[in-house]
């Protein structure tokens, strides 16, 4: 009986053509060249690469398209691009540049119809809706603009809405965990994954292989990390070894 493998996704947060990583969305540090890093992670066994231009909603993103093309040419695994996509035209531009999927975050909140339009125009399979969630007074809330702006939206309702509108996958980032290394917010992931009819990618907080084991056991379909890989603390292959030891099925490369 075949079933889907648990996916390990490496995220490249890119600003001005360099990979960067901050703590709790702040204090960005240079981590290296996106093309070199993407190829390196593919060779380590990453199942997908996500390229999130997190500063794009605040700054100009002109050379991002060139970087996307250079990364895409070299990858034989799925490649998702997000950040700074505000219109249907932006989506077309990034898909044309070589992305397999696009991730929408702020734009999806501001213009939810964009989700429907992309699902109709290109199919749900190429649309990931990225949702940044933070805890405010013990309540989860959706944030936009790279985590800077609260929306007072309830994440559970927003998740159902984006599913209805035709999102193919959801990238769910727990901002309160991001950069802390405390592990994924598995209470949140378990709650969402149980109800959801589309794939959920857990994000925010991972610092070691055990964090991946824990989130897959909680029900996440895929899990994403950046800093722990970029800092060289561990490799994708070591994470996968740990998953295999814990009887979690992963892709053979």
């Amino acid at each position: 009986m075949s079933k889907l493998k648990s996916r390990v996704i490496v995220c490249l947060d890119v600003a001005n053509g360099r990979v960067v990583k901050g703590v709790n969305f702040k204090g960005l540090k240079d981590m290296g060249d996106p093309v070199e890093l993407a190829i390196n992670y593919q060779e380590q066994g990453a199942d997908e690469i996500m390229f999130l231009d997190i500063k794009a909603t605040l700054e100009n993103r002109k050379n991002a398209l060139d970087t996307v093309t250079n990364v895409a040419k070299n990858l034989s695994i799925p490649f998702t691009v997000g950040g700074g996509l505000n219109s249907y035209g932006d989506v077309v531009a990034f898909l044309d540049a070589g992305a397999d999927k696009v991730a929408l975050n702020t734009a999806a909140v501001k213009t939810p119809d964009l989700i429907d339009q992309i699902a109709i125009g290109f199919g749900s399979q190429c649309l990931v809706v990225a949702i940044d969630v933070n805890q405010v007074n013990e309540q989860y809330q959706v944030f936009i603009n790279g985590g800077h702006t609260p929306t007072h939206k309830d994440p559970f309702k927003w998740i159902s809405e984006v599913e209805q509108r035709g999102a193919g996958e959801i990238l769910l980032t727990a901002m309160h965990k991001d950069g802390t290394g405390e592990g994924f917010d598995n209470d949140l992931m378990a709650k969402v994954c149980q109800k959801s009819s589309i794939q959920i990618i857990a994000s925010g907080g991972a610092s070691n292989a055990q964090d991946f084991v824990d989130t897959f056991k909680a029900g996440s379909d895929a899990a994403l990390a950046a800093g722990m890989f970029h800092r060289g603390e561990t490799t994708v292959s070591k994470v996968k070894e740990k998953l295999i030891q814990n009887s979690i099925e992963v892709r053979k490369c």
Binding site: S76, Q125, G168, S197
Partner: protein
């Protein structure tokens, strides 16, 4: 003849072909986009070692595009002449008679059977799955699927997977080898599968 590297990639008008082109180049081939029947006449077709039909988009819109630009006939001719064809995703599905995705639209009908909606735990199916096959170049390979529709049972099936329903992950008939998964997105394993079919 063995040094022919050109591959005719059929423009199905849906999704970007960047991944497929990059992958074909990486395995040493020269993809050439074919957008209408006049791009590939009797003279020029000899310079192609194979045809690849890529697979994003809806069954109905892909069929309409192929019918409108005369490429349905080109594909049928290649198939009947036993020439090498590789179909990917919707590029597999169009060889069958019809699809639940767009009822009332006829497929090429070269293979008996219909495409149906998958009763899968999550939709669309997105992710990696191992192929269940007796064929050495397919057996136990992990490949990347992105689909909500598939051909469940077929006497042409060469590998199967289950995700909720069991379905045909690849089929083979005459010179046609077609995949429900995306070999161009399936890492080294996918490249090896494509090399096997196109070399």
């Amino acid at each position: 003849m063995t040094d022919i590297k050109k591959v005719a990639v059929i423009d199905t008008g849906a999704g970007n072909l960047f991944s497929l082109f990059s992958c074909l180049k990486r395995i040493g081939l020269e993809p050439v986009m074919i957008s209408q029947a006049s791009d590939i006449d009797k003279q020029s077709e000899k310079q192609f070692k194979a045809m690849v039909i890529p697979g994003q988009g809806r069954f109905g819109s892909v069929m309409q595009r192929l019918n409108d630009n005369g490429l349905s006939k080109v594909i049928i001719d290649w198939y009947l002449q036993d020439r090498t064809i590789v179909g990917i995703c919707v590029g597999l599905q169009i060889f069958f008679q019809s699809s639940e995705e767009d009822l009332g639209v006829e497929g090429l009908g070269l293979l008996e059977g219909r495409v149906t909606k998958l009763n899968s735990p999550k939709q669309p199916m997105v992710g990696w799955c191992s192929l269940n096959s007796d064929i050495p170049f397919l057996s136990d390979r992990d490949v990347y699927f992105v689909n909500s529709y598939a051909v469940k049972e077929s006497r042409f099936a060469t590998s199967l997977v289950s995700y909720g329903d069991e379905f045909s992950a690849s089929i083979q008939s005459k010179g046609l080898t077609a995949f429900q998964f995306h070999p161009e997105k399936s890492g080294k394993q996918g490249e090896e599968i494509l090399k096997q079919c196109l070399n």
